[in-house]
Amino acid sequence: MSTPQTDPRYEEKLAEFEARIARGEKIEPDDWMPDEYRRQLIRLIHQHANSEVIGALPEGTWIPYAPTFKRKKALVAKVQDEVGHGLMLYRAAETLGKPREEMIEEMLAGKSKWSLVFAYPAETWADVAIIAWLIDGGAIVNQTIMATGSYAPYCRALKRIIYEESFHLKHGFDMVVTLAEGTKRQRDMLQDALNRWWEPIIMFFGPPDKLSVHTETLRRWGVKPKTNDEQRQIFLRKFVPQILDLGLTIPDPNLRYDEENDRWVYTEPDWDKFFDIIRGNGPMSKERLAVRRLAHEEGRWVREALEATGIARQLREAAVAAPTSSVVA
């Protein structure tokens, strides 16, 4: 436990901790860290991992329907990546002391949140294209910023995730362009999907700074290097021109670029709706958790069967008093 009350050298350690971050150094799992830093990081990385694992579901439902070999393999690979990102992120949070079993059970019990965009249905094949392009595009904006943060295991995971996301973005953009240059029906399907996903994408970056409990300490500690509004602006600056380039219209009459303040102006979403959704009342919130709970239950016999063999435990005991020959010359 390291709080001002319980640790006489708290101030000194905090100064060294903050100096290290200011120098651009990373914090490793067994470095000293304030409890608040640990708590905020566990909450944030836990939610990020949940979002990856739940995020696999809307696109996952479309895998059996993918219409060509390339799309079919790519969609399996993309959803697989998201499960892999969940794995790496749960691991990053585990290094802060929270076991994966706990994190998964809290998610399944609705006690730990995940990104609201996955509480929306993927109604058509064009939804899969928009998700892969704009939701993954938003995720990359967020992850690239978080990768400049201070906690080393999270940054190492993000480095790998960002590399894999580069495929997601190109794959999504390729799908969107294919629909945009396709038949009238394909173009309409694409525009219709964009109309449904635009508000969730704006909400993806979280409530505006004036609403969110974003503190200066989180920025100084490298837990959250940029605010929600800053990230949203980076997304809009990059993607609005590209969307318009494809001949699509963005379903927000107020969307315009404010030259003077160098920022995109948009219709403020209904943030009460946002908070209601992340509390579990989105159109597909219950459905997503139900699918994840079913998968978890149906897999229990597999987890328990191989846990029973417990070979790993025997290996650990035998490890220290082992023969002198090296297995890995």
Partner: protein, 101 residues
């Protein structure tokens, strides 16, 4: 105490915070604590590392080096790489078309 059985440890070094540990070699020691001391003498002295890992070699399971072909991909995997997608040219064409599309 002749009965102290010296076992082989593999040593890994994390050079800087933020980086992954890298295997640097192996050494004999009676137990992990001693292995750390010996490894420190070899690797930490010149300040070229922030952390050392030692692991009994017998604790490591490795794929046989002669079966490296199990990691080979013999059918196309470009569909799951960014370089598997050529889009820029089509967007320019689309924009061109878009004026009278």
């Amino acid at each position: 105490k002749a009965d102290t059985e010296w076992i082989l440890f593999e040593v890994f070094v994390r050079e800087k915070r933020g980086e992954h540990p890298v295997h640097v070699g192996a050494l004999h020691a009676p137990d992990p604590e001693m292995a750390i001391v010996l490894a420190k003498e070899q690797y930490l002295r010149r300040g070229d590392a922030v952390q050392l890992w030692v692991v009994p070699s017998a604790c490591i399971t490795a794929t046989p080096i002669e079966e490296a072909d199990i990691f080979m991909h013999t059918t196309d995997k470009s569909y799951r790489e960014a370089y598997g997608y050529r889009v820029a040219e089509r967007v320019r064409h689309l924009r061109g078309e878009e004026k009278h599309g």
